[in-house]
Structure formats: C-alpha cells, structure tokens
C-alpha cells in the first residue's frame, strides 16, 4: 500500500473535502474539515484495505497567525499490518474549539485528548471525562498556547538572589 493508493481511496470517498495533501519525510499528511474528523477516522479504521486501527499519537498545535483556524489537532495513525503511517489534521477556531472526540473509536484517545484539552483548550465533544490531566485543576488558562511565554526574562516580581535574577 502506497501513499497514492491511500490518497485515491480517501478522495474517492470524501471528494474535495480533504485538502492540503503533503508528504513531509514520506508521511502522508492531509487536512480534514473538523465536522468530518470522526467520519474520516471511522472510514480509515473500518476499510478492509486501509486498516488504520492504531492511534499512535494525538496532539494540538497553535498557529496564532491563521485566523479562524488557530488550533490544529493532529492525529498520527498507524496501519500495523502494512506498516504505513499517516497524519491527519483538523483545524478549529480558537474562539470555539469544538472537535469531535475519538474516544469511541480508540480508547487510547482518552488520555491524549485530556492532555490536548489541558494544554490547548480543545473542547472534545463526546469525551467521557474531559478534565485537566497534568496541570492543576484550578488553572484557568491553556498554557501551551503561544500567547503565554515560557518565562518573561525581565520580570521583577521574583526576588531570587541565589540565582542572580
């Protein structure tokens, strides 16, 4: 199974809905509209030839300059039989970052979606327990978004004589 056959099968099924086909470092990468993410995942899972039944990784990326689609949720899928990996991206508006949850399809998505919510604030619809996982529950912002710098080097509120700040 090559990237071309995967692309052909997906375009046969979904037509022009899937866009931005790329192959960085040999991995087929494409973008789906966020309403279709579950349908695409389900098709990739169920199709007898594609069999992308292993969710390797799920995370988000914040692109502040892309207005209206700031948050990208990235799925890495793996077909263990033919040993092919693909990458699926879904873009969401940061004002209303609602994406359908893949937990019904992949149990492994549970923690990964919680982590993505925790750091980027992507609201996974249908997730059984969408609460913070690594950060404290009281946190009221999503720290991996680009507007939060790691640490302001010029801050003066911290008196740290030991390390000379």
């Amino acid at each position: 199974m090559t990237n071309d056959t995967i692309k052909l099968k997906l375009t046969d099924k979904f037509g022009d809905a899937l866009t931005d086909w790329q192959e960085p470092y040999g991995m087929l990468t494409f973008t789906a509209p966020k309403e279709l993410n579950l349908k695409v995942l389900q098709f990739l899972f169920d199709d007898t030839e594609l069999k992308f039944q292993f969710l390797t990784d799920l995370q988000a990326v914040h692109y502040p300059h892309r207005k209206g689609e700031e948050l990208a949720v990235v799925y890495h899928l793996h077909n263990l039989v033919d040993n092919v990996r693909i990458r699926l991206k879904v873009f969401a508006d940061i004002q209303k970052p609602d994406v359908f949850s893949a937990t019904a399809l992949y149990r492994s998505a549970n923690h990964m979606e919680r982590e993505t919510y925790d750091f980027f604030g992507v609201n996974f619809i249908g997730h059984p327990n969408l609460v913070r996982i690594l950060n404290v529950d009281e946190m009221d912002y999503f720290p991996m978004r680009k507007q939060y710098p790691v640490e302001d080097q010029l801050r003066i509120d911290k008196d740290d004589e030991m390390f000379g700040r």
Binding site: P24, Y25, M27, T29, Q53, F54, L55, T56, D57, Q59, V61, H62, V74, H76, L80, N83, R85, R87, Y106, R107, S108, N110, H111, M112, E115, F119, R132, I133, L134, N135, V136, P143, M144, P149, V150
Partner: protein
C-alpha cells in the same frame, strides 16, 4: 422494631473502603495516585491521578535550541535515558537530513540495548520485590551498576545521561569502556540465567502472576499499548523491526511474544528481550571491532553546523570557534519541516513529533510517551481483582512517573 438508618454520603459506615494508593506509596514506584474503591480486598473501581511531576517539557522545548533539549529527554523514562537521548538525536537528524556513519550507528545500538537491559532489569526485579522476592532485586542491581559505569565512561554521567550529540557521540569510546563492556558481556549472562532460575519456574511466583492483570491483543491495541506490554499480549510489533533506525536492520534478533498479556507473560517477554539485547550487543560489538584504520576512529557525522566541535579545536581553529559560538548561543536556524520519528523505548514506542518553522527553536515538540498512553488501561486491568494484584500489575506495566508526566 428498628428503623432503617440512612447514612449520609461518605460516611465511615459505608460498605466499601476508599484507599489512596499513592502519590507517595512504596508500591507505586513513582509519583502518581490511584484512588481505589475496595470491597474487602476486591477492587470495584480505580481512578488515577497523574501530573504530580509535570515539568512542562514541551513548553520549555519551544524556547531551546535542539541540543539543549537532550537533557529534557533524559528525564522522561529515567530508567533508560540513553534510548530517549538517541531517539531525540535521530529525530533531529531526520529533520536535518544528516546521515550518520555505520560505526556511530553500531555504537548507538550498543548503548541503546544496554539501556534496554537496565530498564527491563529494574522492571522485572521490581515485580519480584512486589511478589515478595527481594533477593533477585539486590542481586541484579550490581549489574545495572556495571551498565551505569559504561555510560559513565562514555559521557560522564550515570542516570540522566545526555549521551551523544546530534550526529554522533561527544567522544570516541575509550578502551576502558570497551573493557567494561566485555566484562559485562562475560558476566551478565550467568547472572541473568540465575535470575531466571529464581523466578521463571518458581511456584510461588507463577501462582502469583499467572492470570494477573491480563489484556487481550485487540484490547491492548485499542488502548494504544506498545513495547513489551503489547508483545506480551501477542502482537509482534517492534519499532526496531518495523521501521529500522540506527541500522537495526543489520542485526539478527527475534521478537518474543506472549499469549495472554498477564503479568507473567510480561515478565517472560522482558526476560527474553534481555537475552536478545545481549545478542544484539555482541553482534554490534563485533561489527565495531571490524572497523580498521581511520574508520575505527569515526564517532560522529561530518555536520559542523550542528555537531558541537571538540573543545581543543575551539581554542585552536577558527572554524570550530565560529561553529561552537553559533551552536552554543543557539543561533543555528533549523530548517522548516514537520517530522515524526519513533524509537523502541524500553516500555514502548517513544515518538517525537517536531515542527519547525525555520526558527532557531522548535515551533512545537510533542513527546509520544508510551506509558502515558497505556496507563489508561490500568483501571480496567485491575477491576475486580485483588489489591495485591493491582500492585504487581502496576509494577509489571513498567510505569515511570517521569515519562507519564513529561
């Protein structure tokens, strides 16, 4: 005539017991919490809380040049940090398009397999400790010490190694390192054999672990299991074979698989993997010895823009000084790209997803930490079992808090 007494929620007279296993419980072997709802000794429900040692590595990495991210990867699975380091170097090399010489690949394989042995050794002997056999743990500890001494000889540190650099190693392996490696290869098989004799057919151990915390193959795949835990369930997925990196295709080894995915299978798979790792190290060492003349001195790729030059060159050569300055100050631009690269970590597929926008630091870096993903299954694995089984299930899954929390 007595009336029914309605007990308020959370009353001490309720029928079940709530037990906090963790965050700092000796049985968790790491900082994470399991809140267990017990009926007698049977577990009705388990809820896990993680994140106690979250250190925001992904955020920190967005502000650091590539070579400064290596120490962060050390602290993921700290029982086998060299594998994490190599995984990170390989990711960078994939992004930068650097091809490493064969000798470097083989040296890396030696280090990675040593790390795998060290990790499995801890995991298996801890399963022993949790089932009540302390001897094995103390006995094999001195051989982990030998492995650490080999690391020390190569990079100077033991636990959080930061071993190697982008493109190769910081220095060539010294004769002392090879001597220690030979000592290890000579002595360790006997010890491993004895360790196996203590456990594998031990009646108490078998009774204790067989059928404890089992998982079926399909379920394990759906839960995102990788590594020895998945192989114990019967799926022969190994990144070293499926997507060979660092010249793993040159080696001859088998992937052990189990059948039921219970604690005993996981133990056996790890044990067999140690034997395979030993064989890989022997093969790699043989291949390394076959290099003659100038080739036998190669320990890094020729990529001056990313490989930190030797210190004595920095003081005497113009070019080395320039590159040293540029690399240390983090002024080397990373080419634009998006790359996912995975290595077979000691407890599963350790992936690095790196996005660069052409700046000097990664735009986004994500670690695919195997134990973060398969820990979700713990609640299901222990449900309905005994409390003491939960403890050995936990240790045989090889949960490392540093990796879970990143």
């Amino acid at each position: 005539m007595s009336e029914h007494i309605l007990l308020p929620e959370g009353s001490i007279e309720k029928q079940t017991t709530t037990l906090n296993l963790g965050p700092t419980h000796p049985a968790t072997h790491g900082v994470f919490q399991n809140i267990l709802e017990l009926d007698g000794e049977r577990i009705l429900k388990s809820t896990s809380t993680i994140g106690y040692i979250h250190r925001a590595f992904e955020k920190i990495a967005e502000r650091r040049p590539l070579y400064q991210i290596t120490p962060l990867t050390d602290r993921l699975n700290y029982c086998s940090s060299p594998i994490n380091n190599m995984g990170w170097h390989l990711t960078c090399e994939k992004l930068l398009g650097i091809k490493t010489p064969k000798r470097v690949d083989y040296l890396r394989v030696i280090i990675m397999e040593l790390a795998r042995i060290a990790d499995h050794l801890i995991c298996n002997s801890i399963v022993g400790v949790d089932t009540g056999a302390f001897t094995g743990f103390l006995y094999v500890m001195q051989y982990r010490e030998l492995i650490y001494e080999i690391y020390e000889e190569i990079c100077g540190s033991r636990l959080t190694t930061t071993i190697g650099r982008i493109g190769g190693f910081e220095r060539n392996f010294t004769p002392a390192a090879f001597k220690k490696l030979e000592k290890f290869l000579k002595e360790y098989p006997l010890v491993l054999k004895e360790f196996e004799n203590l456990f594998t057919r031990n009646r108490i151990f078998m009774d204790r672990t067989i059928g404890c915390g089992p998982i079926a193959a399909e379920r394990a795949l759906n839960y995102g299991f990788t590594g020895p835990n998945l192989r114990a369930a019967g799926v022969d997925y190994d990144v070293r074979v499926h997507t060979p990196y660092s010249s793993y295709e040159d080696f001859d080894f088998i992937i052990p698989v189990g059948t039921t995915g219970d604690c005993y299978d996981r133990f056996l798979v790890r044990n067999e993997e140690m034997w395979q790792s030993l064989s890989i190290i022997e093969q790699a060492y043989q291949k390394v010895q076959e290099f003659k003349g100038a080739e036998a001195e190669v320990y890094h790729a020729d990529t001056p823009a990313y490989y930190l030059p030797e210190k004595k060159d920095v003081y005497t050569k113009m070019e080395a000084l320039i590159y040293h300055f540029k690399i240390v100050m983090g002024e080397t631009a990373i080419p634009e790209g998006e790359v996912y690269s995975a290595v077979e970590g000691a407890n599963g597929e350790l992936g690095f997803y790196l996005i660069s926008d052409g700046g000097r630091t990664p735009y986004r870096l994500h670690f695919r930490r195997p134990c973060f993903i398969y820990y979700q299954a713990f609640e299901e694995l222990v449900k309905g079992g005994m409390l003491s089984d939960a403890v050995i299930t936990m240790s045989s899954l090889n949960l490392i808090a540093g990796e879970m929390d990143a």
